[in-house]
Amino acid sequence: MTVDHAAAAERGFLAEARRPGPFGWIFSTDHKRIGLLYLWSIVTFFCVGALLGLLIRLELWAPGRTIMDAQTYNAVFTLHGVIMIFLFIIPGIPAAFGNLVMPIQIGARDVAFPRLNLLSWWLYIGGAALAVTSLFTGGGPPDTGWTFYVPFSARTTTNVSLATVAVFILGFSSILTGLNFVTTIHRLRAEGMTWTRLPLFTWSLYATAWIQILATPVLGITVALLFAERVIGTGLFDPAQGGDPIMFQHLFWIYSHPAVYIMVLPGMGVVSDIIPVFARKPAFGYKAIVVSSLAIAFAGSLVWAHHMYTSGMSDLAVMVFSLLTFIVAIPSAVKVFNWLATLYQGSILLDPPLLFALSFILLFTIGGLTGLVLGAAATDVHVHDTYFVVGHFHFTMFGGTGMAFFAAMHYWLPKFYGRMYDKTVATVAWGVIFTGFCILYLSMKIVGMMGMPRRYWDYVPEFTGLNQLATAGSWILGIGLVLMFVNLVRGVLYGKPAPANPWGGATLEWQLPSPPPTENFAHDPVVTHGPYDFRKAGIL
């Protein structure tokens, strides 16, 4: 744990490739290289998705046509949703930072199935390529929304069929990551790395991976059935052929609700790892946090129909699913309280990673609490499919997982590039992002309460003021994001050398040089203390 400048000057795994040039990356089975491949592909798609979000906001500046017609708008928000969900947020933290960090955190040299790991990146890229292809072929860009509800999705002439294939492949990629991680965590922990010494980030990946394995196939069959309905006319959801459109919604949400926990659990893991380091205090309630991750993963699989209160399903189902939805809130609450307790009586350094982690807590809490408004049956009837929902999920996904993703970038990139970004600029960028975020999405919640439906290209004039506020917020947010990314990329390329342990972390990755060597550990490590034992780790 002594700062080793000589090692920091080396380029570690960044310099050691088995193949020359780009092939050393795209055919590498090193988990760190795959992690970086994922990271930059994901960031790229995030930027594309965010630009589409910006276009949505521009169109909604005023009622009627502003910059695009209704059909284009529908394609734009569909693409925005599909990119953000399937290409950014679901693979986001697990595939990028999970791959980079998790094997090191458990003291392994790589994941259990390195070649499968590479395959899942290729599938990710293949799925993304197909999704892009679907824009320019067939009947034009899909216009169904990311939820692909039938019968509309079965009838529309746009290229939905190809998009379902893309989603199927992306699901496959996600499954492979999940099964790789579960096996890795079970089989490759270093000596002394007991289950109660696993860093909380790794624990959260473990819980997530199980959802990936058990829920994703249901999405696979759902989109496969939609494909079959469009291509060969097996109308399993077509009322004219005896099918039930609501069954599509069940199958879709059986995956897609658990998927929101695929999105957020790793983010919670990042936050659980960052807070102790910057507060110089062990994670409070380690076991409670672990149990709550598993509880969220399990109970989160039982609440899918809360997206369907108004669909015409039975009232009994409304009651049971509403009740279970509220149960999921409890483990989330436990996590928030434990994070706060970790801060209490610590010695807190407000560096960029912590700033983003704390904004995770605040924004996710707002998102989660508005989730409770949605979980209650009566109130959801009013706000279902309005901008209130749009506000809710941007708070949880962007305010939650997105912020955690940015926190992870500020926390771990110096480790893997051996260079430090400019902390002042990062802090300013954080401030701009936070401000823009609140203006943008709080306006959405209010306009949603007033009754503005989502997926509306045009709206009644009463809603104009709040929509303009939201659009203005998106510009502020955009400026902040650009500032942040430019600063990070500059840091990676030209930053000052970063020491091995810039933040004073006690988990294993901080004991390696920055960047780590290809094989991670010269000798298999023997773990003798918990992940947040700063005294034994010599930090305090």
């Binding site: 129909a305 015409g312 039975s314």
Partner: protein, 97 residues
Amino acid sequence: MSENQEHAHIVPYRTFFLVWVALLALTAITVAVAQVNLGPLNVWAALGIATVKSTLVVAYFMHMKYEARLFKLALLAALAILAIFIGMTFLDVLYRS
């Protein structure tokens, strides 16, 4: 990695053969039962026999009987989740007004 895993249990031919005979017998039984009208019980009987058959396949052909407890727990978890998915869907389907 360890030696004793490399030389894990080798199932004798005879066991497999007996399992196969049992599976054939169960197939015959399930066909026979289907000819009798038991009302809704027919489906449950068919599912019951199929469950017995699949248990045999999983336990012997797929060696689950000889695997570590982790494998068994994981299998149970997967099946439980599937059962929950089906069961909870029926909360809607059976009780629509």
